[in-house]
């Protein structure tokens, strides 16, 4: 192919999904010349699966992205059509925000945000080659039309597009998600650079016509009365605009599936890619859990200007006629009209153990990976990685120290550490149970944990910073106040205490002591806590949680501190594990594969014992 020199950039982002968008915005906002390439401008920030953002642990990720100065939370607040805080009553560690989004407008908003961003060019083009510079780094990228861009930092955010193949029953064809073109030549180019690729798969349910559903046979699900926004910047009250519905499969549904299971490409072995365990197709659920008499699903609107509805929980790769039979066996869906059928998609992704915790590949300097290409799943996981990869690519240009998020300060850090240290065998979804520090890493305090870092990186505006400092001041002062001011004994207070099912007082006590009782809320004490200042709700929430869970939080912070000390011990990049006397063979192999950045990371590798860690520590002292 004839090629021509098309220009120079500092950072190129390949793919404009949720990872690519955050990566490009972060890099451009940090002042480096950035270009984002996409196969189709009309697919920027597309949601090819569920029309929602957040959920358990994913909601945490969005708030962390926002706390660091990313875009997803702000956009999700603007295009939110229904919002719920999940897990209220299960404890603050697992409170998670989830919002239904207007898919089309979310795309348009993100496209415009990119277009209006300084230092950022947007190009519809397929990148077919990442060219090495012969010195271990990247020279540039080339498009399918032969345009060569000189760019030393490239972030691969190809999602499910890379050598994408869609499966529906015994039919399969090359395709990206939502009937888009796949990206093919880039795979070979990456493999030439030494990046190992493998096949993962995922699936999505059908979209159906709104008025073909009998809503009387489904349970309605409203949004929260009072909506908490994702973004710490969003001001003003948000309003729900739609409802969702809940339905159930039944024995007839399961019978249809069992009868036709041999027509599934997964069960007949046609798909070699490894699917996500947490996101099983309906046939998977029925076959793996034969005792379950029904499976729950949700009907979710795709947006305000469309009649398409998403059937969350009913993904499938069975043939179209079977899909119709499955859906129509369900109460409420007897006459359902499918607009887009369910399908499974298989794609190339990297082995995340090749990544450093900065999301740069170990094999090639300046080559980064983010999102589904790294073996994760979900828009939020993708966006989180995109943000960090964008920041690190920019900092590489600016000659600044790279940023690594820790397990102990964020779910983003936990996610990336899991990718780089443990590796993944199937598409990785974030869960609250993946964080050992989850009482500290709550969604309510994401700003307290990460905004100072976001400010240091340069993604937090002066105005936002001021308002953060003010919030932190209010929180700290109120924490101090409740620990020092007292409530007096009174018959009225005792009446409240008894009514709430807790013991009356023998003597006056500190406000904080009463707040520690699980039965008593901050609001309950309002009439008795007389010198209480007027405070914003989010400040009160944090004060209440910090006091109520103080003992547990303190224990977690002690664990954090211990891990932190180990993470401060850096391991030089050129370390030769084989030459270290005293390391066991298995440890040498594992350490060589993962190439941990510090002792803390090394200690988490399975196959590296505490004794190996001691040996490493001693070696490092030399």
């Amino acid at each position: 192919m004839e090629e021509y020199f098309a220009g120079k950039y500092d950072v190129a982002v390949v793919g404009a999904g949720h990872a690519g968008v955050e990566a490009a915005l972060a890099a451009a906002r940090l002042g480096v010349k950035t270009c984002i390439f996409t196969l189709n401008l009309d697919k920027i920030a597309n949601m090819p699966c569920n029309p929602s953002i957040g959920g358990t642990a994913k909601g945490h990720l969005v708030r962390e992205i926002d706390a660091l100065g990313g875009e997803m939370g702000k956009a999700a607040d603007k295009m939110m059509i229904q919002s719920r805080m999940l897990n209220l009553g299960k404890g603050p560690a697992v409170h998670s925000l989830r919002a239904q989004e207007d898919r089309a407008y979310y795309h348009l908003l993100m496209k415009k945000t990119l277009e209006q961003q300084e230092n950022l060019d947007i190009k519809q083009a397929e990148i077919v080659e990442v060219r090495p510079d012969g010195k271990g780094g990247v020279l540039g990228v080339m498009t399918h039309l032969g345009a060569f861009y000189e760019v030393p930092n490239v972030i691969i955010c190809t999602g499910t597009y890379l050598k994408g193949i869609i499966y529906v029953g015994d039919r399969k064809w090359e395709s990206g998600p939502d009937a888009s073109s796949p990206a093919k030549p880039l795979s070979d180019s990456l493999e030439k650079l030494g990046i190992k690729l493998r096949r993962f798969k995922t699936g999505t349910p059908a979209r159906v016509l709104r008025n073909s559903i009998d809503y009387d046979k489904l349970e309605i699900q409203h949004g929260d009365e009072h909506i908490v926004p994702f973004s710490f910047e969003t001001k003003g009250e948000l309003k729900n605009k739609v409802d969702c519905w809940i339905g159930y499969t039944n024995e007839d549904t399961h019978e249809v599936i069992r009868k036709n299971i041999d027509r599934s490409p997964l069960y007949s072995g046609k798909i070699e890619g490894i699917g996500p365990r947490y996101c099983p197709s309906i046939e998977d659920k029925v076959m793996r859990f034969p005792d379950k008499i029904r499976h729950q699903f949700f009907v979710e609107p795709m947006g305000l200007d469309t009649e398409e509805m998403y059937l969350s929980g009913l993904s499938s790769s069975l043939p179209e006629d079977v899909q119709v039979a499955i859906y129509r066996s369900i109460k409420g869906l007897e006459h359902v009209s499918i607009m887009r059928n369910a399908y499974a998609i298989e794609y190339d992704c990297c082995d995340s153990l090749d990544l450093r915790p900065t999301l740069e590949f170990m094999q090639v300097k300046g080559l980064f990976g983010a999102g589904q290409f790294n073996g994760t799943s979900g828009y939020e996981e993708a966006a989180a990685q995109g943000l960090l990869a964008g920041v690190n690519a920019a900092r590489r240009v600016l000659g600044k120290e790279e940023i690594v998020l820790e397990r102990s300060n964020s779910y983003i850090g936990t996610l990336i550490d899991d990718l780089c240290t443990k590796g993944v065998l199937d598409p990785y979804r974030m869960m609250t149970s993946r964080s050992e520090y989850r009482l500290v890493l709550r969604q309510d305090n994401a700003d307290m944990r990460l905004t100072p870092l976001g400010r240091e990186i340069g993604l937090i505006s002066d105005e936002r910073w001021e308002s953060f400092l003010e919030k932190r001041r209010l929180r700290d002062e109120e924490l101090e106040r409740v620990k020092t001011s007292s409530v007096r004994m009174s018959p009225e207070l005792d009446a409240v205490l008894i009514e709430k099912g807790t013991a009356p007082l023998n003597e006056g006590t500190k406000v904080s002591e009463l707040l520690k009782r699980p039965q008593i809320t901050y609001a309950d004490l309002a009439p008795f806590d007389t010198n209480r200042p007027e405070l914003p709700e989010d400040v009160i929430e944090q004060v209440e949680i910090e006091i109520k869970y103080e003992g547990y939080i303190r224990k977690q912070l002690a664990q954090v501190e211990q891990m932190h000390r180990l993470e401060e011990k850096k391991i030089p990049e050129d370390i030769d594990y084989k030459s270290i006397h005293g390391l066991r063979l298995e440890a040498i192999e594992k350490l060589n594969r993962v190439r941990p950045m510090n002792i803390g990371q090394a200690s988490r590798i399975s196959g590296v014992s505490p004794a190996d860690v001691s040996v490493l520590l001693i070696y490092l002292q030399k």
């Binding site: 099983p280 149970s433 050992e436 547990y552 014992s609 001691s614 040996v615 001693i618």
Partner: protein, 454 residues
């Protein structure tokens, strides 16, 4: 960093042994287990590099006299606050002092952990670091073998039964909170408490059987002590069933230490017959008496023999005094002869007293029972799993503490996220014991056991 403790001198009988406690809370921990002699200074009032003389103690009472040396960070081996207790060098005694430190809030130091901290705090030079390196790798090799052997053992199965139950709980909690959109049932407090209580019972039993287990595994060194000619050798012969010790009418016949390995029930015992305790001019016998005293100092259990056919004298009372607070069985011998001694003193001085006639074999059964009870093995089934070392004990101790906290959280009405964190902490400690990594066990199980996902 957390505060850790370990025995820092080799575990063999020697003149002195040192327990080192290092970390921010070292002085506070030391204070909880050390009482200075009258007029002495409390540990927290001491400046760095200074000492106090007093007694180390635990819940059961005084353990030993000790010199406590306080080091204030950064001027110590590890660079942290450090307290070192110099005690007498008996392994049993040092282990007890260590456990007092663990009870007082210290964690058990891992292999090379003091050195690791010294390195972290920049206290160790290159040469020193290299010197400890070989030691650490040697330890890891043997630890690896131990872990391998454990996998098939009864203890491993026992711990496994606990971790499986806890993992099941944790898995349920994870599915319940991570998949609110699925109809995963909430765990009832009753179920939670039942499982947690069962777990607590198992862990508590493991801790209780630790001492007995050690005796069963390693045997107990048991010294027969007493004045000359009270019937020590006769008693030894009775227990071992052989005329191993020379039994004569002449006081001072046993001049060296006679050793015999016997089984009392299922318990292996290294039985040591010693020279009679008395002041003597005979040089050879004198050496024997000194050896006897040494053995009494360092053995696990003493069988103190008294002759009830003669009035007690100074040596008898000295023996009663010497053995106060030590694991011992008092044997009032010669019940076949007329009672001439005031045996109340013996009853007052010992918890376990049996009256026998070693010559006739009367009271042998009672004696064996009393010995088993002192060794704490009386109610232990030999097939029952027991822990092998202090490291395992430390893991189980931490696991149990976390379960207690989980139970408190449930009782207090805390949300289940707090309960879950406690269960996870307990699981981590138990996985550390078995040498496995806990990290992903729960998540694996969520997908295996629950039908969750969009």
């Amino acid at each position: 960093m957390s505060t850790i403790a370990a025995i820092s001198t080799p575990l063999s009988a020697s003149g002195l042994g040192v327990i080192r406690i290092s970390g921010e809370e070292a002085v506070a921990v030391g204070e909880k287990m050390f009482r200075p002699f009258k007029g002495g200074k409390e540990l927290h009032t001491l400046a760095g590099y200074s000492c106090a003389y007093g007694r180390v103690f635990d819940a059961e009472g005084d353990i030993d006299e000790a010199v406590a040396t306080v080091f204030i960070a950064p001027k110590s081996y590890t660079g942290e606050n450090t307290v070192e207790f110099s005690c007498h060098g008996s392994p049993a005694l040092l282990k007890r002092v260590l456990r007092a430190a663990l009870d007082a809030g210290a964690g058990l130091a891992g292999p090379g952990e003091f050195t690791k901290r010294a390195l972290l705090n920049g206290k160790l030079t290159l040469t020193q670091a290299e010197a400890v390196m070989d030691m650490i790798s040697a330890k890891s090799a043997s630890a690896g073998k131990a872990a391998l052997a454990m996998r098939d053992g009864a203890l491993y199965r026992k711990i496994r039964s606990v971790t499986e139950k806890l993992t099941e709980l944790e898995t349920h909690l994870a599915a319940w909170s991570d998949y609110p959109e699925e109809d995963v049932e909430e765990l009832s407090d009753e179920h939670l408490e039942t499982v947690l209580n069962e777990t607590e019972t198992v862990l508590k039993r493991l801790m209780d059987t630790y001492d007995a287990g050690k005796v069963i595994r390693e045997g107990a060194t048991t010294v027969i002590a007493g004045k000359p000619n009270v019937g020590k050798s006769t008693l030894m012969n009775l227990i071992s069933g052989r005329d191993r010790s020379i039994v004569t009418e002449i006081a001072g016949t046993t001049r060296d230490v006679v050793e015999e390995s016997v089984l009392v029930g299922d318990i292996p015992i290294r039985l040591l017959d010693t020279a009679g305790l008395r002041d003597t001019e005979d040089t050879v016998e004198r050496i024997g008496v000194d050896m006897a005293n040494t053995e009494i100092e360092r053995c696990d259990v003493v069988i103190a023999v008294f002759d009830s056919s003669r009035p007690f004298d100074e040596t008898d009372f000295e023996l009663i005094e010497k053995l106060k607070g030590r694991p011992a069985v008092a044997v009032i011998n010669k019940s076949d002869l007329e009672l001439q001694a005031d045996v109340d003193a013996v009853h007052a001085g010992f918890e376990n007293v049996v009256t026998i006639s070693a010559r006739k074999g009367d009271g042998e059964e009672e004696f064996r029972k009393a010995l088993a009870s002192v060794l704490k093995t009386a109610d232990l089934d030999p097939a029952e799993p027991v822990m092998a070392n202090e490291r395992q004990l430390d893991c189980v101790r931490r696991a149990k503490k976390a379960i207690d906290e989980a139970l408190d959280a449930v009782a207090f009405g805390m949300t289940l996220d707090a309960v879950g964190i406690c269960i996870e902490t307990s699981l981590d400690a138990l996985y550390e014991l078995t040498g496995e990594k806990a990290s992903d066990a729960v998540i694996e199980k969520v997908f295996e056991k629950f039908c969750v996902g969009k």
